[in-house]
């Protein structure tokens, strides 16, 4: 069998390989299960990425980041260009980690600093690090953001009626259950793209609920 396709997989998924080279690559894919699996995974990620909205950020976080870095809040605009999705599996894994860490960091920046360290009534068990794309570093970033918001919400729970607090706790408990189930499933199948994205989605859902409820509690 020919050598594995390696970096050429990305170009193949992007339709940047043609002619005899493409025919040879496709022939290799029919014979090589390892390359075929990687190709399918890349194709699926590409479709997911293409399906994402090109949404602008809700607010510009750079001035705050720049102030912390002691830099001028100047951003040089880049010329607009067409979205191109091209990456390898290791790149995908790294990108997933960076994305999760950045998302959690953005949430932290967008919420308040300096919260009481007391145990929060909204606190949930820490999500254990797992194998696969949603790895320890990414999950820890989510955990930090979630803890922060739970403490913030706990400090403002007096502004909410007991029925609402109970409903929030039940909802967060349901999400925690989903997180634990996704975690257990990932232990069985750590390379499942769906389970990785499902866990990430569940963590993100919890962040979203906490952030929204905290905002509403602050405004009430």
């Amino acid at each position: 069998m020919d050598a594995h396709l390696g970096e050429r997989l990305s170009a193949l998924v992007d339709g940047e390989v043609g002619g005899a080279e493409r025919e040879a690559a496709e022939a290799h894919l029919t014979a090589c299960a390892e390359c075929r699996a990687a190709y399918d995974a890349l194709l699926r990620i590409k479709r997911h990425a293409e399906a994402l909205d090109d949404r602008p950020p809700e607010r510009d976080l750079w001035p705050g980041v720049a102030a912390r870095l002691g830099q001028a809040a100047t951003v040089i605009p880049l010329a607009p260009r067409r979205r191109r999705v091209a990456f390898s599996i290791p790149q995908l894994a790294a990108a997933a980690l960076v994305l999760m860490a950045a998302s959690a960091g953005a949430v932290l920046l967008a919420t308040h600093a300096g919260h009481p360290a007391a145990a929060s009534p909204f606190a949930s068990p820490t999500v254990a690090p797992i194998a696969g794309l949603a790895s320890a570093k990414g999950v820890e970033s989510y955990d930090a953001a979630i803890r922060d918001l739970e403490n913030t919400l706990a400090s403002r729970r007096s502004t909410l009626d007991t029925g609402t607090v109970r409903a929030i706790q039940q909802s967060l408990s349901i999400i925690d259950g989903a997180i634990r189930q996704a975690e257990a499933a990932l232990a069985q199948d750590p390379n499942s793209m769906y389970l990785n994205s499902h866990l990430e989605h569940a963590l993100g859902r919890k962040l979203e609920v906490l952030r929204r409820v905290t905002t509403l509690a602050a405004a009430s």
């Binding site: 009626d161 029925g163 929030i168 989903a178 793209m193 389970l195 859902r205 929204r212 405004a219």
Partner: protein, 296 residues
Amino acid sequence: MRPILALAVVPAIALAARALAAQDIDTTIAVRTGARFELNSVSGSVKIQTWNRQQIRVVAETDGARVDLDASAGSVTVRTEPRRGEGDVDFTITVPGGTPLEAHAISADIEVNQVCGEATLGSISGGVTLRCANGDTQIESVSGDVEASDVRGHLDISSTSGDVDVSGVHGDVSARSVSGDVSLERVDGQDVRAETVSGDVGFSGPIHDGGRYAFHSHSGDLTIRPDGDINAIVSVSTFSGDMESDWPMTINPGGGYVHPREWEFTIGSGSAKLSLESFSGTIYLRRGGASHRGDR
């Protein structure tokens, strides 16, 4: 000055920034076309309806809370200020058709009937019901049920622990809950997304070529009933759930992702993208459009 503006200015000056005493209120303000109405309430109830006059009428039955009212020809803002722990106010608001609305409450139910303008409505522990809107519409509750019908425009609707019921929408929809069911009936949009964690998700409506449709639940069932013919790449993901489809799930040779728990199949030309995910629930893809809740 045009007569309609003359009508508007006099009462507007009289009422501007006026704090009304803690008593029942019934006041009517002349406004110009397109004037906005905003309400911030604590508890009680909020009903907003329409009439054929270029005026906004505010009726408030209060148990002691103060009601502040700011008015001009271009907008009317009403705010409840609790006094001595009393915050209950029952509002009945009547506005011209098409008035853009923004109403927020802590524990009051909000009901809007036939105003048919843009609307932003939110209640923390109350329910929200909107019948008829045109333009961007946002509805949110934490622990109450939310319901929207007869909407033309983009609809963003969510409840944390309540049910989400949507029917008769021409436009894109984003609907979310955590523990409630999400039901989208007769939704005609190019970008439709619904998700919940422990509830069920239902959808009926056309799947347009080039459109994007995503329905996700963790432990609930999905019942998707496209109207008419569809052309879509269907992506299915589950862990311990199941899938039943009225369309043949034929995996394309040489293309499409195949995994015991994740697979894709194409219906027709595959122009639209239809994503169906349920971690442990059953996914039903049914022919036949509108359904009733619980009908698989």
